[in-house]
Symmetry: C2
């Protein structure tokens, strides 16, 4: 709520501005179905407004079906409001043609292999193993899944005999555990720039100093990385070599080799975020940094969240056993261990071969999505716009031509039902004011195309307006 | 591994000492089935031993069936070794008569309502809601469960209109999130002493200064609490009013009232850990601190882990909405959100009324366990021993008569198949060298009785030995 900007000198009444602001938070899923809104008295105090203003805003949102109030219990974000219905479950309601949320880097619910999930869940529940699953477990994870994943990694040459594995609540928790183990105040960490905001927040919470290494179409700039290694001696570098979030960039083989050599030379632990690589739609797979540095200090993070079910929080980390032991200790303090029911279900999903079949289908659909987004960018984005050309994953990165900013464009497209995350969410030092992330993983090709069309038309319109307004400004003297 | 004490001047060969030490870690479930042991080369380096010594220790453990090795992959704790088989699943193998692990504060797998779990899991998987459960969720938890729990709490008068609720991965994660929100370095926190070690570790990780308030049979000492409030101005106090871990103590109503008044006066947020209160076997229920201070700063932590399934990590926190919002922000950084499959299964379990039925049965069995442990303490513990008399929960606290220490006794009873956690695990400043926790929640009345008998006999024997040895020491001059 603190992030809602109210302008007292605007023509729009404050209650309307507030309702719009909250509505936008709901549409962008910052506020989620069932979330409780602050009591009117409390929000009035926080924002320095009259309580009736808050009540009027809530009433307006209620009329729109975005929130619902219960006497004596407060107001809640509605369980099934129009935005959520189209956002989370394309199967159930047909979204309006011109509506596309490029905000969330997640798979489409319509692609979920529900029948398989149902079968494996039944099997797990009915198995004699159920009592063990329900009992207190190990902070390293459900042993049969851990062993399966370690065996697979060893068979694939990704893990060696001195490696071990820990299950985490998705990749996000692995980043948080790493922060607990490494990121003391004053410690330097090298990250990509732009970079996934959830990683920034996990490392920043521990008080580490972060240094961003610029990312281009072939991943991080190795020369800039070496300069940061020399100047700041980071203890840790976090890299997403394949289909990086937010750029979709893939590190070339040559850069991969140089990065592990540099990290080795500077005794810098590499955190390799490898959660998108099974989603390669075109081109050839490249070896992980872990494979390129089998005896080195590389910690490989993987997850089932991006490749099948984000609602089941199961990821894992593979690395030198001494480091895994420290992560396990941190994990025990954080939440004892991960939920075991989902671990057991996902183990069956993987062991049965159904995960591989699902990945085949996902890559087919993903290829169509990727073609749709790249084709639409080519067709609709105005001249001077640049964008990355990912070979997989869920996101690409757009750089708007100056003087257009991502925030200005966002304001214009949101009223037309299109949404995205502006570059500032992914910024370390560079503000990325003209950058924006397009996450296309959860949309149909038609939705993608419609959304990019609106984005392109609005960008072109705004550019013209800005340039003609700029043309009326006095020109600076030429020097 | 670092905790294994090796004595080079002992008659026992080092390899045997090491094997015993690792075996003890396995029996005490510090090392769990499937855990990977360090490679021999690595452990040799860590312990400053020859690699063949490590290999000999591993070979000895392998022969005992405690670990198993795979060529090129290292050694792992065996999936089904004799200790685990009796410890985790009394239903499957009958434990040896004289074996009792009082180590873990958790329910018995034999009591799990497996049929109900199976039914509800099938229902959830087959429901149309499955796609939503599998999609990315809210950091506040699965909305239907969150709403159900908040409604229940409001109906029971435990939550008020300005309260909100967040789902956590069991109570442990709630403690960790609280640590993230409150426990900056230099911040003072008041805790019980003795206190649950997992709480100490979560707060200590954030660098807070902890001050222990002594606990007796009626809970924390209010006068000592007031002194700490005055001297150290703690921002937070964490209290388990009912069946505290490790003492089993319950705060009297009078103390509850005085504590919330004091916390209010000193502007100290109260974290109320209320995970055992449904396990009351005798006596009358008392109001929570939250109920006694409806408008105050009390954060109530609850969980399904102790009352039904520890392997499903679902707990929750209820408190002022502004505080819940800060916890939700911390939760998003920690792991985005909790696994939704277990949340949906537990919601059905609660809504169907089956949870209440399960609690009725659990309290009946719990009462028998409590009678067994109190009866056995009365019968077998030597004169001078003191112990608490809990009215519910899973643990009681024993204070051995001087000069006997808990560690000395532990050494003696482990070889007879009895295990417990010595007091030092629960210590803030006082070392609790003579204290020990007896967790009886996972054992049958017969196992409890057999275990306490061994404990009592060993304690009596050691006391005699120590006292007669002490008699041979020169006496100090009388002054």
């Amino acid at each position: 709520m603190a992030s809602i900007a109210l302008n007292p000198s605007s023509d729009t009444p404050i209650y309307k501005q507030l309702a719009d602001g909250i509505g936008s938070l709901i549409k962008r899923q910052v506020l989620r179905p069932g979330d409780k809104l602050p009591p009117t008295r409390e929000l009035a105090g926080q924002l320095g407004l009259n309580r009736t203003t808050i009540s009027a805003a809530y009433a307006a949102l209620d009329e729109l079906g975005l929130i619902s109030g219960k006497v004596g219990r407060g107001s809640f974000v509605a369980e099934r409001h129009p935005v959520i219905a189209s956002g989370t479950s394309p199967a159930e309601t047909e979204p309006a043609l011109n509506s596309a949320s490029f905000v969330s880097s997640r798979p489409a619910a319509v692609d979920f292999p529900l029948e398989q999930f149902r079968r494996f869940t039944r099997e797990v529940a009915d198995s004699p193993e159920a009592a063990n699953i329900l009992q207190l477990g190990s902070s390293r994870g459900y042993a049969p899944l851990r062993r399966y994943l370690l065996d697979e990694a060893m068979a694939a040459g990704v893990a060696g005999p001195s490696d071990d594995l820990i299950i985490t609540n998705g990749c996000q928790q692995a980043l948080d555990l790493i922060a607990h183990v490494f990121a003391d105040p004053g410690i330097s960490i090298a990250v990509e720039d732009p970079v996934y905001h959830g990683m920034l927040r996990a490392f920043a919470r521990s008080g580490a100093d972060m240094f961003g290494v610029p990312v281009d179409d072939a991943g991080i700039d190795v020369v800039a990385f070496e300069a940061i290694l020399e100047r700041h001696r980071p203890k840790l570098v976090a890299i997403t070599p394949s289909f990086q979030n937010p750029t979709g960039a893939t590190l070339s083989l040559n850069r991969r080799q140089r990065i592990v050599a540099l990290a080795d030379r500077f005794d810098c632990t590499v955190v390799e975020i490898d959660i998108y690589s099974p989603l390669r739609y075109v081109g050839e797979a490249l070896p992980t940094l872990k494979e390129l540095s089998p005896a080195g200090n590389v910690l490989l993070l993987r997850s089932y969240s991006k490749v099948c079910f984000p609602g089941l929080r199961v990821g894992w980390a593979i690395g030198p056993s001494a480091l895994i032991a420290r992560l396990a200790e941190a994990k025990e303090i954080s939440d004892l261990h991960s939920d075991q029911l989902s671990q057991a279900v996902l183990l069956r999903f993987a062991q049965s071969g159904e995960l591989d079949k699902h990945l085949l289908r996902t890559r087919e659909i993903g290829k169509q999505r990727l073609e749709a987004v790249l084709g639409a960018c080519e067709r609709y984005l105005p001249p001077g716009t640049r964008w990355t050309r990912p070979e997989g994953g869920m996101s690409l990165w757009v750089e708007l031509p100056p003087p257009l900013t991502a925030d200005a464009l966002l304001n214009k497209v949101q009223v037309r039902g299109v949404d995205f995350l502006p570059g500032r969410h992914f910024a370390t030092r560079n503000s990325h004011a003209r950058g924006l992330r397009i996450s296309f993983g959860g949309l149909s090709p038609a939705e993608i195309q419609g959304g990019i069309q609106i984005l392109g038309e609005s960008a072109a319109f705004e550019m013209n307006a800005l340039l003609s307004a700029g043309g009326r400004e006095p020109l600076p003297a030429l020097v």
